[in-house]
Amino acid sequence: MNQVNQSGWKPSTPDAVAGEAATTTGNRALMLEEKLIFEIGDNDTTGVDFAGSAPAKAGALANEGPSSPTLRPSPEYRLAGLERTAPINLPGLSEPETVRHYTRLSRQNYAIDLGLFPLGSCTMKHNPRLNEKMARLPGFADIHPLQPRETVQGALELMNELAFWLIDLTGMDGVAMSPKAGAHGELCGILCIRAALEARGDARSVVLVPESAHGTNPATAAFAGYKVENIPATKGGRVDLAALKSRLGPDVAAVMITNPNTCGLFEPEMKAISDAVHAAGGFVYCDGANFNAIVGKVRPGDLGIDAMHINLHKTFSTPHGGGGPGSGPVVLSKEVGQFAPLPYTARTADGVVHLIEEEQAEAFSAEHFGGRVQSFGRMTAFHGQMGMFTRALSYILSHGADGLKQVAEDSVLNANYILRSLEDVLEAPFAFSGPCMHEAIFSDRGFADGFSTIDVAKALIDEGFHPMTMYFPLVVHGAMLVEPTETESKANLDQFIVALRSIAEKARAGDESLKAAPVFAPRRRLDETLAARKPVLTRIPSPTARIAVKEP
């Protein structure tokens, strides 16, 4: 996560790096340039063969697929005259070129597999390869969401089992499995709350959100039709309970709290907050993006929370994949859970957990919620992110009761180690108030004039590290949010600390070399202003460059 360039940095062409002999290809040994597919492919090339596209066969393989092309009707047949005639302009590449194109491109990326990726709030931890293997078992990867239930019992069992552990780990009543990511889970939770309020005829209009909240919180509340108001924070970086209490009232539908919060701090008064909100007739939504810091240490259900999403791609390490997919199951209290979307999973009085779809909804609602079906409907076409469920369950079972707790402890230990190792060179606004949770926050105060967080971030790139989250949360000036995660060794942390310390010292001293960073990356700093001013979002078929570019 990241904010737009707030430092006002503008690109300028620096002196060509001396000593760098230019190459004719633009390549620099293993740092390889790669053109667009539109520049190397064409409409007549394909990297896929089709049966029948070969000349008549001299012999044929056994177990053959589609029969010969003579069975093909003329293309007009049964197409209502809608045949596509004009070229689509989708360039193809042979398989060798395709493999090379994407392999070369991949090498222009940083990734967890390469090194420390301390992006605060994002939880970039090791993605076990066992989980990838499990998700690819044909019994999970190659089943259709509309197959008859009797043919997918194993898949439903898997969802049930994951749901069981999510409920167990959070101490809640049930879980809506279908949300596709954290933000979708937020929406799910807020809609459950809204439905619960509406069911009691209580039309409230405001959702309170701390200033430090992730952007998805206010966006979600607005998406669900609520007005958003800010809750102020204390000097110590926590929700100001007194201020919150004074704002509560009959118009407040819900309060959205992130806990641990986006400053990496646990909200010690969470239970008091919940009690106050409940007393005022509202509900408490918890943004569970940082659940990884407390899994096995405390159960949100014990703190009075009504709804909380869990980013399986954070706490349970399903890979981020360069932007997704994620998965955002929402654990719910019984009160709001009865309105949850289907499929929904809940634990009945006998302790058994059930996966409820449309067909079981009636019976289940009658028994468990003592009423008719009140689900507010579907949030997505099918069951949710099955591929992520498999990975998350594999992760949970692999870690187990001892390992998951250790995850929380080690992630917190690593963050505090970084906090205490750097607070003398980087201002740590909340360090005075005690330990942090899984991430350490610093500000750019104390840097020389004209130097800001972005300069530190870009210099880290040259050192072989991914930068921390920049300029978020908004409550800290030039925030640098560092989340090392539990899958980093002490040696990695130590190397990171040395590098960051040296950069911080340069930023304090106003060392101009920081402004040029990164110098070793595939690209120097990019002009984001130009990109936004004259957006070029697709390649136009005949390349009439709208901005002057030097072809790589």
């Binding site: 093909r72 259709h144 898997l158 206010p218 099918f382 009761a401």
Partner: protein, 452 residues
């Protein structure tokens, strides 16, 4: 524990540096009474790879695998052959374990892929611009309605009866809270689409008309008349495509006047996966781009003037605009978008067209064979790779009966519309390039028997 690098000695050293006597000192903000002691209750201790494999393997074996039986399911998720190189490439650690490309200098790989993906989607859909992906087709569909509302400042959306009922359900969920009005209907087992009803319903309050193409019964019809009618009153046409392979053979919605085209990309590169993760595709006119939800990648230059790519127009997005964002979406479907893009690059226009032709030809063949079974009637006049038949019996039990014979023989309309008895005998059958002649024989035999 194999995933945790810290040793006990490390932990002790680090606590020492921190000045804490135990790790519990770091959790002092957690109220004493809520703190859990000892290992997590209920959960077994950590497990070996072998144990986890055996456990999950046993669950996996309880499912009937699409690739191992005659398989004819569609309705929003399709079984296509995915070249082996696709999975190899998306497992490159540099793609798999990267974050959203917020630091463009070391994320040009992901960014260039997104730029190529956006271009592929835009061209496939016949649109000017596309975004970097949504969760899936159903959520993209709702986002399109919201976008139409923002553009037209109207709140009535007219949904075709051919729109996937699960997509309708997602829209209904949201509309209930946003105040949008949805005009919906249930399809009839007719060859014709509901274009006339749609056109007749359009009025000056209409924000958009939403039409699926091919529709839930596999029907295809020209969208231009609907587009014209909508445009005449300043409303938009939203087209929804659940089977992108179709657009290798039939006209793109963008070519027929659609203003926003959204859909499911699963068919290309992604695989069935019991419904997710999939990848939502979203394209529109350039003039509307600032109302678009989701991430956008754009071209720019670096400090040396070299071409490069960045995420752009982020002032539409939650992390900048917060409650004023066009959507709350953050994490999207990056890796599935990559899979889509790799597969599409392998196909290229030539491959996509051939693939689409084979799908259509196979479907025509199967439709003919099934329609010859006594009592079975073909509903569609025109279709791509999916069509509907009516049976002389209820389709839902028929599907279960076919399972007994080891055939996954289609999706019953009873499953999709449990409350509409008029549709109970309808069966939707999808036929792709993965279907062999033997599979067709098996389906024909099974269906013949169960309708007898």
């Amino acid at each position: 524990m194999r995933y945790l690098p810290l040793t006990d000695a490390d932990r002790a050293d680090m606590l020492n540096v921190i000045g804490a006597s135990s790790v519990d000192d770091l959790f002092i903000d957690v109220p004493e009474e809520a703190r859990l002691d000892g290992p997590i209750h209920g959960l077994p201790m950590h497990a070996t790879e072998m144990e986890v494999e055996r456990h999950l393997g046993a669950l996996a074996r309880k499912n009937m695998v699409a690739g191992e039986v005659p398989f004819f399911l569609g309705c929003g998720a399709y079984k296509h052959h995915i070249p082996a190189s696709v999975d190899h490439l998306i497992q490159r650690g540099e793609f798999l374990t990267a974050y959203t490309p917020y630091q463009p200098e070391i994320a040009q790989g992901t960014l260039q892929v997104l730029f190529e993906f956006q271009t592929q989607v835009a061209r496939l859909y016949g649109c000017e611009v596309a975004n970097a992906s949504m969760y899936d087709g159903s959520t993209a569909c709702w986002e399109a309605i919201g976008m139409a509302r923002r553009i037209t400042r109207r709140t009535k959306a007219i949904l075709s009866d051919g729109l996937h009922p699960h997509y309708v359900s997602v829209c209904r969920t949201m509309a209930r809270f946003t105040g949008d009005t949805l005009d919906t209907a249930v399809p009839m087992l007719d060859a014709g689409t509901d274009a006339e009803r749609l056109i007749a319903s359009i009025d000056k309050d209409t924000s958009c008309v939403v039409v699926q193409y091919p529709d839930i019964l596999g029907r295809i019809a020209d969208l231009q008349p609907i587009a014209d009618a909508a445009h005449a009153v300043g409303a938009l046409l939203v087209a929804v495509v659940t089977e992108p392979v179709a657009l290798g053979l039939i006209k793109a919605p963008g070519e027929m006047g659609a203003d926003i085209v959204v859909g499911e990309g699963q068919s290309i590169g992604v695989g069935l996966q019991f419904g997710g993760p999939y990848v939502g595709l979203f394209a529109c006119r350039e003039k509307h781009v600032r109302q678009m939800p989701g991430r956008l990648c754009g071209e720019t230059v670096d400090a040396e003037g070299k071409r490069g790519f960045v995420l752009t127009l982020s002032t539409r997005e939650q992390h900048i605009r917060r409650e004023k964002a066009t959507s709350n979406i953050c994490t999207n479907s990056g890796l599935c978008a990559l899979a889509f893009s790799v597969h599409m690059t392998l196909l290229g226009e030539k491959g996509l067209r051939t693939l689409a032709e084979i799908n259509h030809a196979r479907a025509v063949l199967v439709a003919g064979r099934l329609a010859a079974i006594p009592g079975v009637e073909l509903v569609n006049d025109a279709f791509f790779n999916e069509f509907t038949v009516t049976l002389p019996v209820e389709a839902r039990p028929a599907v279960h009966a076919m399972v007994e014979k080891g055939v996954l023989g289609g999706v019953s309309l009873g499953r999709l519309y449990p409350d509409d008895a008029a549709l109970a005998n309808g069966l939707v059958i999808a036929v792709t390039e993965t279907v062999t002649d033997a599979d067709i024989d098996a389906l024909e035999a099974a269906l013949t028997e169960v309708v007898r």
